[in-house]
């Protein structure tokens, strides 16, 4: 597990500590400190998930807070049979979809055009520039591809779990990942 939450706290420490599922169950039973620990583990990944989906920071903040509020309200409905990350990002994904429905939808065509316009690096780029480019290219990806790629990069979920989160099939997830990776790779190499 390279990506996702566990890599940030170290394997040994992770094994010693309680799992996300245990913490969530404890919080559902009334242990507020369990939530603190859980929040500390996932605040970064969830925030970046929204921040890189939505250009406006205030909107990203609203979405981020809204998801946590939903999780707090739904704490008793959580079942440890599914991974906590999958549960959390399913809520986040649905929240984001609701947001898109309420605001003006951004079509994939528009996003693809934007991506093509921005993918114009002709010179050799340094690492710092490359990172900045990657951020821009990710933001320019079509919504579904960006969402799938960010779920993969931020959470390390399996394709099946991402399919469950987004309500699609594994093949669809794989296809979106393939398109997203190809675009990013092409634009970064150029």
């Amino acid at each position: 597990m390279v990506l996702g939450v566990p890599r940030r706290i170290g394997y040994a420490a992770f094994m010693r500590e309680k799992t996300d599922e245990q913490l969530m169950q404890q919080y559902a039973k009334g242990n507020a400190k369990a939530f603190d620990q859980l929040y500390e583990r996932h605040r970064g990944s969830l925030y970046r998930y929204f921040r890189r989906q939505v250009s406006d920071e205030a909107t990203a903040n609203d979405l981020y807070q809204g998801v946590w509020e939903k999780m707090i309200a739904a704490r008793k409905k959580y079942r440890s049979s599914s991974p906590f990350s999958a549960w959390m990002f399913r809520i986040a994904h649905n929240h984001l979809v609701d947001h898109y429905r309420q605001s003006k939808p951004v079509t994939s065509v528009e996003m693809d055009t934007l991506a093509d316009q921005q993918a114009l690096p002709t010179e050799h780029v340094i690492d710092g520039q490359q990172r900045q480019q990657l951020q821009e290219k990710i933001a320019a990806l079509p919504q579904e591809q960006r969402n799938t790629l960010l779920l993969k990069l931020e959470t390390g979920l399996k394709m099946e779990e991402i399919a469950s989160v987004t309500g699609t099939s594994r093949e669809t997830v794989k296809s979106r990942l393939r398109y997203a990776v190809d675009k990013l790779k092409r634009s970064l190499v150029e």
């Binding site: 597990m1 605040r43 970064g44 990172r131 990069l153």
Partner: protein, 253 residues
């Protein structure tokens, strides 16, 4: 990045490419939520749980209150049912009333009550068949019981009169000793009075009074003649209570 299932060469290639991309992605500026947002979310989470905890803290009071109400209600029902059952069984629930002098009668009456209680289930079963009969007989049974008590009381009074001269009494019988104890204790238990049911019993209770000094001395004398060592203690108590009362010669030895 090994979390992608390898379902073929294409998956493997995709897996490697995402892993490579992931390394670059990790180098992106680690954006984090503002501190104020963190605090707002954590406060919200704590509030949600604390509200629940607050309710749980006082949840036991509801249980305790419910239990107390149930126990109280049951005790009231049982208290009210007990005399009714005794009356239905043809018994006078009240103990004989004359305090002190009627102790043997009271004991007998309590024994009867116990017996009646032990046989109460059978009586209840039979009651359904002969409810009307019982109702008719209960009145007469009560009257008979009252008569019996009066007879016993008269008998006791006669016995008391018989031992009024300590020298004639000789060795006291167990009943007399009980009577002596009762005289010495000289208490009119409130619960007995409270159990009085009929007006006749109430009247008898009013008539009963603490034993006189003479009666107490007779009782002490009876104890002495019976060889009961408590007579000295009783005499001492008596002289403390009535220091100027003249003692008979039998007790001054």
């Amino acid at each position: 990045m090994n979390s992608i299932h390898n379902n073929g060469p294409d998956d493997k290639l995709l897996n490697e490419e995402i892993e490579e991309l992931g390394h670059t992605y990790q180098q992106l500026s680690p954006e984090e939520p503002p501190e104020l947002l963190d605090q707002a979310i954590l406060n919200s989470a704590h509030r949600a749980v604390e509200q629940k905890d607050h309710w749980l803290d006082f949840g036991w009071i509801h249980g305790l209150t419910t239990a107390a109400v149930i126990v109280l209600a049951l005790s009231i029902i049982l208290t009210q049912r007990q005399p009714t059952e005794l009356e239905e069984n043809g018994l006078s629930p009240a103990a004989p009333t004359a305090v002190g002098r009627t102790r043997p009668i009271e004991s007998k009456s309590k024994d009867e009550v116990r017996q009646q209680r032990s046989s109460a289930p059978a009586t209840r079963e039979a009651r359904d068949d002969s409810q009307t009969k019982k109702t008719l007989h209960s009145r007469s049974a009560l009257l008979e019981e009252d008569k019996k008590q009066e007879n016993m009381m008269q008998k006791n009074m006669a016995t008391e009169a018989g031992v009024s001269s300590p020298t004639e009494a000789g060795v006291s019988s167990p009943t007399e000793l009980e009577f002596a104890d009762e005289v010495l204790s000289a208490k009119a238990p409130d619960d007995q009075i409270g159990m009085l049911k009929t007006d006749a019993d109430k009247a008898r209770a009013e008539q009963s009074a603490p034993p006189s000094e003479k009666e107490q001395l007779q009782a002490i004398l009876m104890l002495k003649q019976a060889g009961d060592a408590r007579w000295k203690e009783a005499l001492r108590t008596f002289t403390e209570r009535y220091p100027d009362y003249p003692l008979p010669d039998e007790l001054t030895d």
